[in-house]
């Protein structure tokens, strides 16, 4: 079972549509016990970090998500689903997040239009199965005003330039997270989900 985490915010439909297109039948759920049975978890998200953490907490999902990732099971965080993996965010004052990835989420620097909206290139920093068949510097669709900066630079699998260098893909074994929206990024985005879901087939 592939779980798309439903915490009452954000538009899950696009992620669901992308997975259905790839031939999967994801389960959209906010129940902690569904996470423990899941073969893979996708955490989408738009909106504010603080609200996201409040919602996850109310549903009792904080620890199950943390455990799922630290157990090394296949996890994919999208946009806000990347940002809340960090220690904390400066969005709307300082808010603590899941602290799966030591580091901070910061506001994009002034000097260009914010939010960063549109298609931008992802420079692949190293090999990872999620990049399989996707050309280096392929374009993906971004829409965000904050970005995460991991303390451990080895986690950075992809980078994107917008005023500063943004960590746009995080990958560590079965944990993947993107600042962009693969479900809105055409064929390259679909390919990335396809690659991720193949990790399950490998018996992970």
């Amino acid at each position: 079972m592939i779980v798309i985490v439903d915490y009452g915010a954000g538009n899950l439909r696009s992620v669901t549509n992308a997975l259905v297109r790839l031939g999967y039948q994801p389960k959209i759920t906010g129940r902690p016990q569904d996470l423990s049975n899941a073969r893979a978890v996708i955490l989408p998200g738009v909106g504010a970090a603080a609200d996201t953490m409040i919602n996850l907490n109310q549903l009792g999902l904080i620890d199950p998500i943390r455990r799922f990732i630290t157990d090394g099971r296949p996890f994919f965080g999208v946009c806000m689903g990347l940002q809340i993996l960090f220690t904390g965010t400066e969005e709307g004052g300082w808010h603590e997040c899941l602290n799966v990835i030591p580091g901070q989420v910061k506001k994009l620097p002034d000097g260009q239009k914010i939010p960063h909206i549109g298609w931008n290139q992802v420079k692949q920093q190293r090999d990872h199965p999620v990049f399989s068949g996707i050309p280096d510097e392929a374009n993906f669709y971004f829409v965000h005003s904050y970005y995460g900066e991991p303390e451990d630079k080895r986690l950075i699998a992809g980078e994107t330039k917008y005023g500063t260098t943004i960590c746009s893909v995080i990958a560590r074994e079965n944990m993947v997270a993107t600042q962009f929206h693969p479900e809105k990024s055409g064929e390259s985005g679909l390919k990335m989900y396809h690659n991720f879901l193949k990790l399950i087939a490998k018996g992970s």
Partner: protein
């Protein structure tokens, strides 16, 4: 580098595209789903749906359209036209839209921008501004019109753009009523003025006739994205041709 977006706009009435019926390749020329699929395949960067349906029954059909489109094309979708409150917005976002654009309702109750941004995030809220030039000296001044361009408001377009952004709008969809429909070029001065005035991306709309018009809106108008309807619907230029033209002239474009 962030690429400039090329955005076809589909005017939808009672579930059908009302412009763009000359797409000879399409079996059902007015089908927004088929047209969206075609634009997706041609490399459009985003799609904007403007619902111009007048009746509540007709409005339900646009929800169906968005649901079907979002199952088939994997690109950003914006829906506008007749959205009056947060629950109208939610309905579109749940149907598969990524952003909603609001125009008349935002002018009548600016707090709607704040409410929408608080609920769904600023990145979801596009302020659509229809502007008409009312003075040209000593400096040009543009006035905001509402109700599909029928009603002048007396509001200065530049101040309204700034205020909307301060209230939480994450993007401006700017239509020049003077240029719209003439295919003689975007209003560069208006686009440039608004683009410099707000810290969020600006989508230029109204007046696209030839590829150079899009080039000028991006370079001289400093727009972040350009919207066009007729030149794409009537197959005057394909999206691919326009993108190639712009790319060859040094504009960052997703090819």
């Amino acid at each position: 580098m962030l690429t400039k977006r090329i955005i076809p706009c589909l005017d939808v009435k009672d579930g059908k595209v009302v412009k763009g019926t000359s797409f000879v390749q399409l079996r059902d020329a007015g089908d927004p789903v088929a047209l969206s699929r075609q634009y997706y395949q041609q490399g459009a960067d985003e799609l904007i749906f403007l619902d111009i349906t007048a009746t509540p029954e007709g409005r339900d059909t646009v929800v169906d359209v968005i649901e079907s489109v979002s199952e088939q094309v994997f690109m950003p979708l914006t829906v506008g036209g007749g959205l009056r409150n947060v629950s109208d917005m939610r309905r579109m976002l749940q149907a598969g839209a990524d952003k909603v654009s609001i125009n008349t309702a935002a002018v009548l109750q600016p707090n709607l921008i704040r409410e929408g941004a608080a609920k769904f995030g600023s990145q979801c809220i596009v302020i659509a501004i229809d502007a008409k030039q009312v003075e040209d000296r000593p400096e040009p001044r543009w006035e905001v019109y509402i109700s599909s361009g029928q009603k002048p408001t007396g509001i200065n377009a530049v101040s309204w753009a700034k205020k909307s952004v301060a209230l939480g709008a994450g993007e401006v969809l700017l239509t020049s009523m003077d240029a719209d429909g003439h295919q003689a070029g975007y209003d560069i001065e208006l686009t440039h003025t608004i683009s410099e005035a707000v810290p969020v991306p600006v989508i230029a709309s109204g007046g696209a006739g030839v590829p150079e018009d899009l080039y000028l809106a991006l370079v001289k108008g400093k727009a972040d994205a350009v919207l066009a309807a007729s030149i794409f619907h009537y197959s005057t230029y394909s999206i691919g041709e326009i993108k190639k033209y712009l790319s060859e002239r040094g504009i960052p474009i997703r090819l």
